[in-house]
């Protein structure tokens, strides 16, 4: 057995996972073999079925010539004379992809060597048929990451994360990636261990790996002693997490008896399904970018999403952030391509530039406001004019709805404090309803360190004195002006950062649901 290999990275979501490595980057060209011959047979039959189904779907919109080609390919795939030899090879122990490739290559060779040009040209059809099934086979294996697998690769797509069943464990280990990426946020809120910034690995590791996402590292090809040590660390973490669960049901109070409000951050209306509303003080941040997936959501879709969360919260406050697209969150048909997107047309800048799209969201929010304790905040506010224009659009849409007799209500309007200009000179915003410090963006702008860049991750710390000083000054301004100030960045749920945030004067934090218990436990240890 070769030497174990330790890679050091940055924890993006605390926890431990022991499991087989699953290579994210090889998915497109690699077929994951199955455990039994029967599974291999089933995989090939399924892949042939998928390929046939796709061709049939294509026929629906094809013209006559194209339909002729597609029908020919379907007839081929449905012919036992083509699939029989491949399935027979699988039955005798060949992997499905090898068997299919060999069977088809033999057919293709027959066409290629024909003395008739028309016949030779059909080789391209046969290659197409071969590759469609191979594609279906590899996709099939994409879904078939073993239970409890550690996903390993450059980066992982949010859809991939969402498609995966994490109930039997597993984790994420990325060579690049970022603790501030959307997948990292999702991983924290679902309690999936995740490490980023592991860098390149010398070989292509396979087999069981140990993911320590508390300290940020992974062990490949672990020795027996390492597995044992890892399991001790893992169970100690589980015990600490379990102890924290005791705090989950109680209001958050510091050692000195100071009450702290702890709300939750959510990204999708369905996130609240797994949260007991009595364990939190409301929703401190509901992101709305995820509603803006591949298409722009209509007013009714948005209204239903907001209303669902408001009704779940009962009378507790729900702070919804208007769409914060752009930056690292592109939305087709809405955001623009830019050389430096974090400093470009994103957040409220984009919404104000696309009033027809923003108006849809505003109307949905105004209508939803009657169903609970809604507050609305604008992201990326840099100057007062932006807030005023956004507030004016709310007033305008409200008047429009009222004129049509639509039930609506104007919610309190606040701003995210995340652009340094707003944090340094908050007096420009003395008349807004509330401040919510977005510590992720505030930190990246103050430290000039992109949050999606692992190579500058060491600079991206909310605990740098420059960032903490700004937070303290915003908190002090809020107290003096009687403007509520909360914090909704990742730092709010980080036990290592919580003491510094409370010392900076914050009394209102919003955290990922999976961090509620640990955050409350950490608060109980602070003596402010």
């Amino acid at each position: 057995m070769s030497e174990p290999l330790r890679l050091k990275g940055i924890s993006a979501s605390a926890g431990y996972a022991e499991g087989p490595l699953f290579h994210l980057d090889r998915i497109a060209m690699r077929y994951a073999g199955k455990a039994t011959v029967a599974d291999e047979e089933a995989a090939l039959e399924t892949a042939i079925g998928i390929a046939t189904g796709r061709l049939a779907a294509l026929i629906e919109t094809a013209d006559r010539d194209a339909a002729g080609i597609l029908e020919f390919q379907i007839a081929m795939l449905e012919d036992g004379a083509l699939t029989g030899p491949a399935l027979a090879a699988v039955s005798s122990g060949q992997p499905a992809d090898v068997a299919w490739r060999q069977a088809l290559d033999a057919e293709i060779a027959g066409y290629e060597t024909s003395d008739q040009e028309y016949f030779r040209a059909r080789a391209a059809d046969m290659r197409d048929i071969r590759d469609q099934v191979l594609r279906a086979l590899t996709e099939e294996s994409e879904n078939a990451a073993p239970a409890g697998a550690i996903f390993y690769g450059e980066d992982i797509a949010p859809t991939r994360f969402l498609e995966t069943d994490w109930s039997s464990g597993g984790g994420i280990a990325l060579k690049a990636g970022s603790a501030a990426s959307h997948v990292a946020m999702l991983a924290r809120s679902r309690g999936v261990p995740m490490v980023v910034g592991l860098g390149a690995s010398p070989a292509n590791p396979v087999g069981i790996a140990l993911l320590d996402a508390e300290h940020g590292g992974i062990v490949l090809k672990p020795s027996k002693a390492e597995v044992e040590a890892f399991r001790l660390l893992s169970s100690s973490f589980a015990a600490r997490r379990e102890k924290a669960e005791i705090y989950l049901r109680k209001p958050a109070v510091t050692k000195a008896g100071t009450a702290i409000r702890v709300q939750v951050n959510i990204a999708d209306p369905s996130d609240v399904d797994g949260i007991d509303v009595s364990t939190c003080d409301g929703v401190g941040l509901m992101r709305t970018e995820f509603l803006f997936g591949k298409t722009l959501p209509d007013e009714e879709t948005q209204y239903r999403a907001y209303r669902k969360v408001l009704e779940w919260a009962g009378g507790k406050p729900v702070t919804i952030r208007t769409v914060d697209a752009g930056g690292d969150k592109p939305v087709p048909g809405f955001t623009v391509e830019e050389g430096n997107p974090f400093l470009g047309l994103r957040g409220i800048r984009l919404s104000l530039a696309r009033p027809e799209i923003f108006g849809v969201q505003i109307r949905a929010l105004l209508r939803a406001a009657v169903h609970g304790n809604l507050k609305v905040m604008f992201p990326m506010i840099a100057v007062k004019d932006e807030y005023e224009r956004a507030a004016a659009l709310f007033a305008e849409e409200q008047a429009g709805l009222a004129a049509r007799g639509v039930v609506q209500k104007m919610p309190p309007l606040g701003i995210m404090v995340e652009v340094p200009s707003a944090a340094i000179a908050p007096e420009a915003f003395a008349d807004v309803a509330f401040f919510s410090i977005g510590s992720n963006d505030l930190t990246q702008y103050v430290m000039a360190a992109a949050r999606d860049n692992a190579s500058v991750a060491h600079l991206n710390s909310v605990r740098h004195p420059a960032v903490l000083r700004l937070i303290a000054s915003v908190a002090a301004f809020g107290r003096a002006q009687k403007i509520p100030v909360s914090l909704c960045g990742d730092a709010g749920g980080d036990p290592a950062s919580i003491p510094a945030l409370l010392e900076a004067g914050l009394r209102d934090l919003s955290v990922a649901p999976a961090q509620l218990a640990m955050a409350k436990a950490a608060i109980a240890d602070v003596s402010v």
């Binding site: 010539d65 002729g68 020919f72 007839a75 027959g110 059909r122 059809d125």
Partner: protein, 100 residues
């Protein structure tokens, strides 16, 4: 004791018994329970007329005399229908000529 039938027909289709014509040919053959085979010569080799892979492998270009034989229930109807299909130029009409 089972029925059997045999016939020959000239392929006039521009590309021969290939691709789209062979799809139609095998689909029609499959509607009969009889065992149906094709060949380019009276003495074979014979290919399964219900398998597009086999029919394509017969490599029958335009101008070929196609031999069709069937055995079993409805053998006569099967051969008759398939001969008719080839004679009708696979219902493709004049626009079947493709440059692709």
């Amino acid at each position: 004791m089972s029925a059997s039938a045999e016939a020959t027909v000239l392929i006039t289709h521009e590309v021969g018994l290939h691709a789209r014509p062979s799809v139609k040919f095998t689909k029609l053959a499959k509607t009969f329970t009889a065992e149906v085979e094709v060949a380019l010569a009276a003495n074979g080799p014979w290919f399964d007329a219900k398998s597009i892979v086999k029919v394509m492998a017969a490599k029958a270009p335009k101008g070929t005399m196609l031999h069709i034989r069937a055995r079993g229930d409805g053998a006569g109807e099967a051969v008759g229908a398939l001969v008719e299909l080839v004679r009708r130029d696979f219902d493709e009409g004049a626009d079947h000529v493709r440059t692709a």
